[in-house]
């Protein structure tokens, strides 16, 4: 610690000599002030407020009115559309997450080869995820056209039936999954980075010991990339639960057009088969301005995500292997 300077102290004014730690503290908090403000205003307060609003009837124009568990009662007993949105979102997630991860991992394995020009392929696989989701959704609406779209024409040319995709209640969600798979490049890159951390010596040792390609993958590669797998699983689930833009554009809006008024087409898709949780929430919040109801939905989704994430983390103790780095 530096010795405090002694010198003539100005008369008539108390000179406060702050300790070094205190000065550091002040500077530190000063620098972090914008973020602390943001945490309070845009994270802490809204989260708590959501929980509060969930128990009220709030239409913005009037003050919120406390109605207890009434929103939840309505949601679960008198709102079949809500139940449908849960089903849709769960179906979508269960379809997309395993498929998406398997494909990303497969691609990453392909990209991990020591070949010349592999970087070009990497760029190729990643570029579709850069395209604005709206553009991607529009493109795939074109491709998935049941009569004359690209995909169905190709399927029919090899003798397979061409399903109704976005116009069919049964195939609309798989259609959404296809769209999302095309734009899922970033998890591939994360897997790739994880794969590069697998030491070649281990794989070579396994090969010498007689392990085949599959056995090497299952017993060496997979355990070593399991932390990355965990990360991708969690992120993928959280994102799928909150799917919005693709479903909005492909399903034809959310029932009310953009500016909140006017008619719209298949909002929510055929028989509401593309009505995802977030779309329904959006409709209640920003078309009906039923903030209480929408907040109740928001809280439920939050708890679901939290619960599922904790579950995944808890189970991860059994299948995730940290190679001594943590």
């Amino acid at each position: 610690m530096q010795k405090e300077r002694r010198g003539p102290v100005p008369r008539g004014r108390a000179k406060v000599q702050l300790s070094r730690q205190l000065r550091t503290d002040i500077v530190g908090y000063l620098f972090s002030l914008p973020w602390i403000a943001s945490l309070l205003i845009f994270t802490a307060y809204p989260t708590l407020a959501s929980f509060y609003y969930a128990f009220t009837k709030y239409s913005i124009l009037k003050a919120p009115r406390w109605i207890g568990l009434s929103n939840y009662r309505t949601l679960f007993t008198m709102d079949p559309v809500f139940i449908k949105s849960i089903y849709n979102t769960a179906y979508f997630t269960l379809l997309l997450v395993p498929l998406g991860l398997a494909i990303s991992l497969g691609l990453a394995l392909l990209l991990n080869q020591k070949l010349q020009g592999v970087g070009i392929y990497r760029t190729l696989y990643y570029t579709p995820s850069l395209v604005p989701p709206v553009s991607g959704a529009l493109l795939w609406m074109l491709i998935l056209d049941p009569r004359l779209g690209l995909l169905n024409t190709m399927l029919r040319s090899v003798g397979l039936p061409g399903p109704g995709w976005l116009t069919s209640p049964a195939w609309s969600k798989p259609g959404l999954v296809l769209m999302s798979l095309w734009g899922g490049g970033s998890s591939t890159l994360i897997f790739l980075a994880g794969l590069k951390e697998v030491p070649r010596e281990l794989l070579e040792a396994a090969e010498i010991d007689g392990a085949g390609v599959l056995s090497r993958f299952w017993n060496v590669t997979l355990p070593l990339i399991s932390p990355v797998l965990l990360f991708n699983v969690v992120m993928s689930v959280i994102n799928s639960f909150q799917v919005f833009t693709t479903a909005f554009v492909a399903g034809g809006g959310s029932g009310g057009g953009l500016s909140g008024g006017g008619p719209s087409g298949a909002a929510g898709g055929p028989l509401d088969s593309m009505l995802m949780y977030m779309l329904y929430l959006y409709r209640h919040a920003f078309h009906y301005f039923d903030m209480g109801y929408a907040s109740a939905m928001a809280v439920l989704l939050f708890l679901a995500i939290l619960g599922l994430t904790l579950l995944i983390f808890r189970s991860s103790g059994r299948w995730v292997y940290y190679a001594g780095k943590q």
């Binding site: 530190g28 604005p132 795939w140 995500i305």
Partner: protein
């Protein structure tokens, strides 16, 4: 005599064994390479073909969009679809472009300024409570936007900011957990000697940040900037809540609005889609290496 014996040994049985092994290894290498390239190429078709279809469709006349058999080469090739899409009556392309740029640029500037400040505090200023604050910051990454969305909207509504870009830009000037995290990790890896020397010389923290740390952080700043720009440029969700009026919306919304006004003119839609995607793709190609480093940096090191 010696030459004959050398020749003879070259073709002797022992040599044959070595040759066989070398030949087999060569075969194995080229075979696996061939399989590798084939697999990569086949898969890349799945990614390329839709893209190709986008470009092809954008150059077609409306009647050729849905034909049997598929029209792979438009005839005529409507190059001026692009011009017509931009100048389409009732679609203020340049106004929307301006809006998108306004949003993306202002947000990115705010992010870089605020996040580097906060990250610097987390990385280099040992103030009390810092680690708890940082842990809280990382924890908020797990909080989905859905639970903060509605009350935040109400705040902005009370401020009369709905219908403007303020709700989308102002929070960027206060920081973002994701980018603070990213920058802090990067800063932790920078050498201490420089900043220590500067501190001993009496430089204030702000001076250290601006004149020493920031120049060293160019790759990280680039990644953060590109990431945020791209995120704002592609953003649909927040604009659809806050700026969904005809003249105020950004290009991402405009694209959707273009579709919902009457008949779907696919060639124009596709042309417009490509135009809207182009800036991002170009930026990506220019900043490729740092981009990929940035994704993997947060993806892995942060876990």
């Amino acid at each position: 005599m010696r030459e004959v014996s050398v020749l003879r040994s070259a073709f002797s049985p022992q040599r044959a064994g070595v040759r066989r092994r070398l030949w087999r290894r060569f075969l194995r290498y080229t075979l696996s390479a061939a399989i590798g390239y084939t697999a990569l190429s086949v898969v890349s078709l799945a990614y390329l073909v839709p893209f190709l279809w986008l470009v092809i469709t954008s150059l077609k006349v409306q009647e050729q969009v849905f034909t049997l058999p598929l029209t792979w080469i438009p005839d005529p090739i409507m190059w001026d679809n692009y011009y017509r899409a931009i100048t389409f009556a009732g679609f203020p392309f340049f106004l929307l472009l301006q809006n998108s740029l306004y949003y993306a640029v202002l947000s990115t500037v705010g992010i870089i300024i605020s996040c580097s400040m906060v990250a610097y505090a987390f990385a280099r200023i040992p103030f009390r409570g810092r680690d708890i604050l940082f842990a809280i910051t990382v924890a908020t990454l797990m909080i989905p936007a859905v639970v903060t969305m509605i009350p935040t909207y109400i705040i902005f509504r009370k401020l009369n900011w709905v219908g403007t870009y303020n709700p989308l830009i102002v929070p960027s000037w206060l920081g973002s957990a994701f980018f603070i995290f990213m920058m802090r990790q990067f800063m932790m890896g920078l050498p201490w000697e420089l900043t220590d020397a500067a501190r001993v010389d009496g430089a204030g923290e702000l001076r250290i940040l601006v004149t020493i740390m920031l120049p060293l952080m160019k790759p990280a700043l680039l990644v953060v900037g590109v990431f945020n720009f791209m995120w704002c440029w592609n953003d649909f969700f927040y604009p659809v809540i806050y700026v969904n009026e005809a003249g105020k919306m950004p290009l991402s919304l405009g694209l959707y609005a273009f579709m919902t006004r009457g008949q779907t003119l696919w060639p124009y839609l596709m042309a417009m889609s490509l135009i809207v995607s182009l800036p991002i793709i170009i930026i990506f190609f220019l900043a490729q290496r740092q981009f990929i480093e940035g994704i993997t940096l947060t993806g892995l090191k942060g876990v």
